[in-house]
Symmetry: C2
Subunit: 382 residues, 2 copies
């Protein structure tokens, strides 16, 4: 554990929306109770004005930084959260919660439906990015925070950051929006659709009713493999694997795994099955596909009531959420005379860059957050 780690952390739980106070979701269905898994790092100041909400991507969780007791694997954005890091826990109170519909502690399809005594499965209502954000707001209220200093995330996390700025303009000082789109494009929907088809084509999926039986492991692995290709760039894949084979003695004249890139994807697919629920993958991917901040208005109008300051980050080799898409966000924000910092980071790592390009991203984020804090009258987190 390095000295800039937040150390040993524990996931906490918050339950709300207990019947008869269920939450009405965007799909009009009611849901409750809702439990939210979350973690916090650093100290909330007296004014409760130094809180930063970290928003995770498709398959992320509340464990963004530090270590769970007995584990040697740090949180998913540990390189960015800690003392002296991009999100500096010496100054700021950092919160990360698992999104609604996921399978990492927050209520989702894997949760027991109290009315039936069985996991929701596909009877769980289809959630949207809006619903995730509404539940996050309930958590923030519960923590007594009136206004977040910042909401920050990449990919699906970036969608949530955008939605925060639109839904709660008075509760958000700033948003950091990384490697994302203001609405899913046809190609982005298409990749998700094929992956969902792979899961639903697995006979073990059983229309989502597989809990306690065989999980749709083959379908979910294929879905994850598709994802991994889109997360890497052509360049980084070529550099990492090229045409290397796993066994130079074999010539590969059969259909077993031959190339290293295939071996890697298979490994990532198979290990994903151990840590993620297939139904949750369906719900998370669908939430992204439904996301459309503009809907039937112009994007510029969608940002009309927004008050936050923005840092928008894109990566040159990200072909899944290419810089041309974040440029549209930047353009619409600027057209609303908002305070926007637009950073394009030169990277070979594709969409994965938001997880691995630590140095350049950290510089931009550190500078932005400190500036926003200072302008809000917060110095050194106080």
């Amino acid at each position: 554990m390095d000295e800039r780690s937040v150390g040993i952390v524990e996931t906490q739980y918050f339950t709300c929306c207990e019947p008869p106070h269920e939450l009405t979701l965007k799909c009009k269905e009611k849901l409750g109770p809702i439990t939210v898994a979350y973690e916090t790092y650093g100290v909330l100041n007296k004014e409760k004005s130094n809180a930063i909400l970290i928003l995770h991507a498709l398959t992320g969780d509340a464990h963004a930084a530090g270590y769970h007791k007995g584990s040697e694997t740090p949180g998913w954005w540990d390189s960015m959260i800690g003392p002296g890091k991009a999100f500096d826990t010496n100054k700021y109170f950092v919160i990360c919660s698992n999104v609604l519909g996921s399978c990492k502690g927050t209520t989702g399809p894997v949760t027991i439906n109290l009315n039936t005594g069985k996991p929701y499965g596909l009877s769980f209502p289809v959630v949207t990015i809006r619903d995730m954000v509404v539940v996050q707001k309930l958590l923030i209220d519960h923590l007594g925070i009136k206004k977040l200093l910042c909401a920050a995330g990449g990919s699906m996390g970036g969608m949530q950051a955008l939605k925060w700025s639109v839904l709660y303009p008075d509760a958000l000082e700033s948003a950091i929006v990384i490697a994302t789109n203001y609405r899913h494009s046809a190609q982005q929907i298409a990749f998700h659709e094929v992956a969902r088809n792979a899961i639903m084509a697995d006979p073990d999926w059983q229309n989502g009713d597989y809990y306690g039986k065989s999980v749709p492991a083959r379908g979910l692995a294929v879905a994850r493999m598709i994802g991994h290709i889109t997360y890497m760039s052509d360049h980084s894949m070529e550099e990492k694997f090229g045409r290397k084979v796993i066994d130079t003695e074999r010539l590969g004249y059969d259909f077993s795994t031959h190339f290293e890139v295939a071996n890697y994807l298979k490994y990532r697919g198979d290990s994903f099955v151990q840590r993620f629920d297939a139904n949750s993958w369906l719900y998370m991917s669908k939430a992204c596909d439904h996301f459309d901040l503009a809907s039937d208005r112009k994007l510029i109008d969608a940002f009309a009531g927004v008050k936050s300051k923005f840092l928008v980050v894109s990566f040159t080799s990200d072909w899944l959420y290419p810089p041309t898409q974040t440029k549209q966000i930047v353009k619409a924000l600027k057209a609303n005379s908002l305070d926007v910092t637009d950073i394009g980071i030169n990277s070979k790592y594709g969409h994965d860059a938001f997880l691995v390009e630590v140095d350049n991203q950290s510089k931009a984020i550190l500078h932005f957050v400190d500036r926003v804090a200072k302008e809000a009258g917060i110095v050194n987190g106080k």
Copy 2:
């Protein structure tokens, strides 16, 4: 039927490599007999010097132009082959054969193995681009053609054209190499690998032994859906589908097909199952993945003995076989002082452009073929 159609055509068959004269494949296994399905359009001149061999892509077939009796669907490259078209059947004798290992009339995994009385299935040897070309050469020999005026193809067809130039330098006047790579990159292998995994994950696949039973329809459909995403550009997908939904009354808060792009991919996936064999897909994709013209030497050395003239075509929005890759081919050919015409066509259609960008492609091909013919002493096909 337009006046520039080659009209009604019929697939012909040629059988060779009858035991004990089996063909030794690159994997060292012997195969025979081998039947080749092929079609021809136009007239072979007296000197047999005006023949052009068309090479099809992954899921193509011998039916490149004209109409089969009773069918209203023309051949797959009908827009490019016919009287006055890119490959002008008023002047040239055009041949197209189905490749070895496919399922469209040429011997492949779906063929009955005469030794067992059952379809080969996965006991069919793994074929390579080289093997496909060797079988094409046997067909050309059978037709009494000593030297092809041209071998032309896109995608996997382009790989075959390159291989022709290396394997049979004295039997090839020119090659037209479209939207391809001289060896499959890690990303290209990765997309194929995931698609193969989708097929092999389908319980109906049964290790390839599914003939006469249920075909692995779900797996093959997913494989095809992945393919279709890579064949289109982000731009063309956005323009064609955007976020359009199939039923505006429904809000899509479930996991049935909602977006038009999803509906399209599902349709293409399902209809593909009706026309293509899952095992053949495995063999075709593997042949592409194995393809490496340079292997352990430099690409420049791979072209050392080559004598053909080249037309190399790429499309700006083709992200599956991007122009940067064809540029490497062009560079290596030029370093060998070969006669190379390098055309980059501005297109929004992605990899599909080689099938749909008829005008610009036709101009370049018409001009190139006529020039090569003239230099070979052939005028107006004579």
